[in-house]
């Protein structure tokens, strides 16, 4: 019957679009009206409280005794416009570093996680190596790794070692982030129920095959939201390559600000990084929401 009604309404869709899909009882109509009123009330409350908060913040800042000076030093529109082209050029370097570093990090991290998952005494040296690596690079501050790799490595004067600060900075970022991301992958692999591994092995798949074809795909799905979180973190940490002298957005802002005797360029660079992070953050939200929808088939609880 539903099918027949569907076909009928599709045929006459143009003249009767405003009509509700199905007739509703009085009690249901009343319920829906109540829910609409509740929704309207909560959005009014939310809107009001947000407005009050914003007005209070604006008031507190603009009434501060040093506001006039801060506005001049940090919010100079002319300086902002003048510094934008150079900072934009710098940001393009950041973006290139980000893409390379993100891909390299995933590959290194997956390898590390797989090494740590190896069972049996034969693999002890590799397990130890992977464990030491993650312990070391999760412990060392990124800025120290940047200095050691950026100034120490070329200092050796070896053949074939790159000297470009952008490349060396990328290497340092990959070293640090892959240690973190490897642990995220490993957590995801351990969150896959042991029965899945048993099912894969019982089909005759080897350890490596069951890892690659059964465990990892499920693990990656589980850890996509935290991975995207790490990606957002990396997006701003690529700005740290400026300490090696690479002219990225942060370095460009520093140069501009020194020329103009004004801090506004830093704010411009910061704003650009935020704009860069917003799509990734929404992507992370979307991925988390998709996982939730896939795992629970509807329901209110």
């Amino acid at each position: 019957m539903a099918g027949r009604r569907g076909r009928g309404s599709r045929a006459g869709v143009a003249p009767r679009t405003a009509e509700p899909a199905a007739p509703v009882s009085a009690i249901q109509a009343e319920r829906e009206a109540f829910r609409r009123r509740q929704r309207r009330r909560s959005s009014v409350v939310a809107g009001l409280s947000t407005a009050v908060f914003l007005v209070a913040c604006a008031f507190a800042i603009t009434r501060a005794p040093g506001w006039a000076r801060v506005r001049e030093q940090f919010f100079d529109a002319e300086v902002a416009v003048a510094s934008l082209p150079r900072i934009w050029q710098g940001l393009l370097l950041n973006l290139r570093v980000l893409v390379v570093a993100a891909v390299a990090t995933v590959l290194v991290a997956l390898t590390l996680a797989a090494l740590r998952s190896l069972r049996g005494p034969v693999w002890f040296p590799l397990r130890l190596l992977a464990t030491t690596y993650t312990d070391l690079f999760r412990g060392v501050p990124l800025i120290i790794v940047l200095y050691v790799v950026g100034f120490g490595l070329p200092g050796l004067r070896l053949e074939g070692v790159p000297t470009s600060p952008a490349v060396l900075g990328t290497v340092a970022i990959v070293l640090c982030y892959s240690a973190y991301v490897a642990e995220v992958f490993r957590a995801g692999m351990e969150a896959v129920h042991p029965s899945q591994r048993a099912a894969a092995r019982s089909l005759g798949l080897t350890h490596g095959q069951s890892l690659r074809l059964v465990v990892l795909p499920q693990a990656v799905r589980k850890v996509t939201p935290p991975l995207l979180n790490d990606f957002v973190a990396m997006q701003k940490d690529v700005g740290l390559i400026s300490v090696l002298g690479a002219v990225d957005a942060v370095r460009a802002a520093q140069i501009e600000s020194a020329e103009a005797f004004n801090f506004t360029p830093y704010l411009v660079a910061g704003l650009l990084f935020v704009l860069l992070a917003i799509p990734s953050a929404r992507l992370a939200d979307w991925a988390a929401g998709r996982t939730a929808r896939r795992e629970q088939a509807g329901g209110l609880a």
Binding site: S25, I27, Q28, R31, R35, G298, G299, L300, A301
Partner: protein
């Protein structure tokens, strides 16, 4: 036989409609469960049995119609669903025990956190319940270490720990080995003996025939036929019911 028993029924559904997108899963269900009655829902997969149980427990919002618990309209948006759910126990096909808690903690969670029962009292009550179903020595174990039948019995005890007015059972034996089905059905039979009011979706026709006070046959989201088990299962009126039962017999489950 509609209504049945004295006074208002424990559960009463009138014209319940539930849609998922364009699909109308429940198309105006009328159903009563009187106190101390066991009512079984039968019907093919997709006939709306589980959806109806989830609607009664307010896990799904109905799109029309009224569900009354002890005469109170629980589909009214002004009521607090948490308070309603405290009066209803539900057991799922796949047990849904919390894997990170021992069996005992699973059973005492709701009384402790929701009911405010002191830890010691909740545990002694839970131990008494677990003892009665022969799971006392498994109380400190984690659910994954129990057999399916033991897990499902623990899940039923967990649903009972809140002393619900109404127990909803959603195909609680469907995921079990045939030899483990018996222990779960025995427990349900005991609950009926103690006067528990039960609405259960099941494929166990033999059990429905022995234990149910009424059998309700759902088909395409409507109640096609209902009545005492000997009538619905023994001498069904509708061709659809006969067809369904014939298929069940073919599968060797009656």
């Amino acid at each position: 036989m509609t209504g049945g028993g004295a006074g208002t029924p424990v559960l009463s559904c009138r014209g319940v409609v539930k849609r998922f997108g364009p699909v109308e899963v429940l198309r105006g269900i009328d159903l009563d469960v009187a106190e101390h009655q066991v009512v079984t829902l039968i019907g093919a997969s997709g006939s709306g049995k589980s959806t109806l149980l989830r609607c009664v427990n307010l896990l799904e919002q109905v799109d029309d119609g009224v569900i009354m618990l002890d005469g109170q309209d629980i589909t009214d948006p002004r009521i607090n669903p948490d308070r309603v759910r405290r009066r209803i126990g539900i057991v799922f096909q796949s047990y849904n025990l919390f894997p990170h808690m021992s069996v005992l903690d699973n059973v005492t969670l709701a009384p402790r956190v929701v009911g405010g029962v002191p830890h010691r009292d909740a545990e002694s009550r839970a131990m008494a319940l677990l003892d009665r179903i022969g799971l006392a020595e498994k109380a400190r174990e984690f659910p994954d270490r129990l057999s399916g039948g033991q897990q499902q019995r623990a899940a039923i005890v967990r649903a009972l720990a809140n002393e619900p007015r109404l127990l909803l059972l959603d195909e609680v034996t469907s995921a079990l080995d045939p030899e483990l089905v018996g222990e779960v059905l025995t427990l349900i039979r005991e609950l009926k003996g103690q006067g528990m009011t039960i609405l259960m979706a099941t494929h166990e026709m033999g059990f429905a025939r022995q234990v149910a006070d009424r059998v309700v046959f759902l088909d395409g989201g409507t109640v096609l036929e209902e009545g005492p088990p000997e009538q619905v299962l023994g001498d069904p009126v509708h061709a659809r019911t006969r067809q369904f039962l014939a298929r069940i017999i073919e599968a060797g489950r009656l």
